[in-house]
Symmetry: C2
Subunit: 469 residues, 2 copies
Amino acid sequence: MIDNCLGAQRSRKIRRALRHFQVTIFCLVLTVVVLRGTIGAGKFGTPGQDFADIRDHLHLYSRKRAEPHRVLEEVQTTSSNENVGADTNAGTNNYNEFDINKILLDEESDESKRDPNVPFSLGPKISDWDEQRSRWLEENPNYPNFIGPNKPRVLLVTGSSPKPCENPVGDHYLLKSIKNKIDYCRLHGIEIFYNMALLDAEMAGFWAKLPLIRKLLLSHPEVEFLWWMDSDAMFTDMAFEVPWERYKDSNFVMHGWNEMVYDQKNWIGLNTGSFLLRNGQWALDILDAWAPMGPKGKVREEAGKVLTRELKDRPVFEADDQSAMVYLLATQREMWGDKVYLESAYYLHGYWGILVDRYEEMIENYHPGLGDHRWPLVTHFVGCKPCGKFGDYSVERCLKQMDRAFNFGDNQILQMYGFTNKALGSRRVKRVRNETGNPLEVKDELGLLHPAFKAVKIPMKETEVKNEE
Amino acid sequence: MIDNCLGAQRSRKIRRALRHFQVTIFCLVLTVVVLRGTIGAGKFGTPGQDFADIRDHLHLYSRKRAEPHRVLEEVQTTSSNENVGADTNAGTNNYNEFDINKILLDEESDESKRDPNVPFSLGPKISDWDEQRSRWLEENPNYPNFIGPNKPRVLLVTGSSPKPCENPVGDHYLLKSIKNKIDYCRLHGIEIFYNMALLDAEMAGFWAKLPLIRKLLLSHPEVEFLWWMDSDAMFTDMAFEVPWERYKDSNFVMHGWNEMVYDQKNWIGLNTGSFLLRNGQWALDILDAWAPMGPKGKVREEAGKVLTRELKDRPVFEADDQSAMVYLLATQREMWGDKVYLESAYYLHGYWGILVDRYEEMIENYHPGLGDHRWPLVTHFVGCKPCGKFGDYSVERCLKQMDRAFNFGDNQILQMYGFTNKALGSRRVKRVRNETGNPLEVKDELGLLHPAFKAVKIPMKETEVKNEE
């Protein structure tokens, strides 16, 4: 039964899970295992030939799409209506109210904490955030939202569990990962918020970022862009500055491809492990639209089934934020699409599988500052889960490659000071530039000691306040 | 023999060590054990009654001072000469040349890497750093060394080993510790450098900070103050801003007491786990004067013996940077003393032993922003060593108290967003302020969301360039 239900690849996982779980209902266990194994989705990074490479690399499995049930039909009918209306603020958003509330009403909730008659909400509806924010920025010129011409104030947000990792070495990799982020952000004038608190018990796991993001946007009106970054993502191009001007008319930037999301509804058509969200009413609205599939338990499970049916190639597991975003954008393109920038020109998120074996080739042929396949801005270890016990890849491969990625990035920091790692796989450093009595005449090759994108502009221009439409 | 040589307290450690080591020479093993057990010195924090409290608390042992041997007599004679001379730049510093070179020449070096005829050096002697730096600052007004009136540009430097901790949970505490520092520094406009590279193999362990500090000062002339902070030190007062103006005529600020250092030569008269060092020629000079006791092996061991004999209450172990600094200041007060500020008005370093049991009392009676015994700026877990295997205190007590200290500080961050930890010993948070539709009308109690000490001054004043005497 197991081999008929799934490919041979999964059998190994099931046997592993069977050692830990009692098999009461085969398919229920199956769902839980797949769920745990594939949390943190978003394996892929590039279209066309690269996408084909990734596919071969991962030996993707495919699922026969189930017959849509009534909820799905109604969702499709409603979303094709194109009657998006202007009143998103009043919460008449199809994705919000129709689908999930129907699920809530249809089924008894076995969660004592949730009152099914009360739809989930991230907080009181705010409809005038642009106005509130503008006013605040005017009254607080000492907290400008732009810290230089074309240089928005950015807050990078990341985090991990307040508990020690189940895998003892996991915390060491979290530590290296945050050091890596500290280095990039220091060079680029970006502040960091490291979260270790679960603000909303219902929105646990990958959904925890939503209440956190909302809270930070509302608490820090001076922040122009919030940059969410997973703890398993590392900066591998220290010299690459995000092209902020490119996004002047956008509010949400994710790595992905239009055709993969809007045409194919591919669950990995975009990645929510590293994205930019502009502070404003629009952000609050999309967070509200995004959240309903998140509350854990019945809601999340049922939503997961919808997503598996509706999206291309999505495995069976509870609703994750990334799939939910693909679904949201694909079904409500008119409402959100014009402000969403799916960026594929550089690796705002870069799937580690197709990058880490090429580091030596990159060092040979290219240089930092490119941010793309030649020298990726971000290498994202999706599926590795060094903190937990179940990952999609071998622990040894993951940890070894994470060390290499860390060093690949760290070398760019070390070279500023005349050092480099002895090898990408080594923890030791060696000197590559002698000490000198005239240190200020030495320029580091990459110009990272005093980069232009970090300098303060004298005199500082007036604060720019951007009003959203 | 063991019990005669040491107190009963040490016997436990020796028995534990004996499980791991073969006993070839009892005293050699003893020295190694004591060395490992007491690395990371600097347990104490306050004079007078507090000092007596600490003493009782730690059940200090005392050593009968050995008869000074010839090196010591010569050192004492030379240092009492008060002929310090002006030419410190030429390296005729007593501490440097006389003591250590004599040791090197007297004994055969068994370290193949060190040529005893070549004195240890942190780098080529630089004598005009103030001039080089002034020139650079003039040419680079976009990298000012003051980022506001009375607000120097500060770089907080910390770090840990590139290897996973021997104690599996150690990395988790390093992670919490860096999150804690990220939070404080974000609020106070301070940048962070997290080091994981050993720049000089000879200056390993606690001495590793010296080459690192020198490198960072010379690479970043825009940095006015470098704030070194141990990885086992945490910020527990998020609202306290260092009184920079107080130090306008000082170059080196450490927690400590003049009488403990200059009169008593007490090895814990100051603490080098958290200190401020102003960028300039003076800093390079004191680093050069500080370094000679550091090179591992014979030099460090012999220097350790000198320090144990010369300083009050110092146990037997190899030379550590803190004892060396006490010795340096006590023997060369005229050279350095006028620029060293031993601060005891607040806890730039706060010994955890006398603080952590009082957190509830502090919450009851006081508030953040005081920085002192009522609400310590820094709680420093000296002797705990959660990353390693041998600490001076029970692992359980250390970890439990580190959790409490972390939460004590983290509560001040969480309250900004309407949350708090359920208890100092809990990992879970609870809401203490409801969400609102007018978030900008809510002020967090501590005023940490948009504190004055972080605001940008509009318009920005001209850069202030401070020239050292």
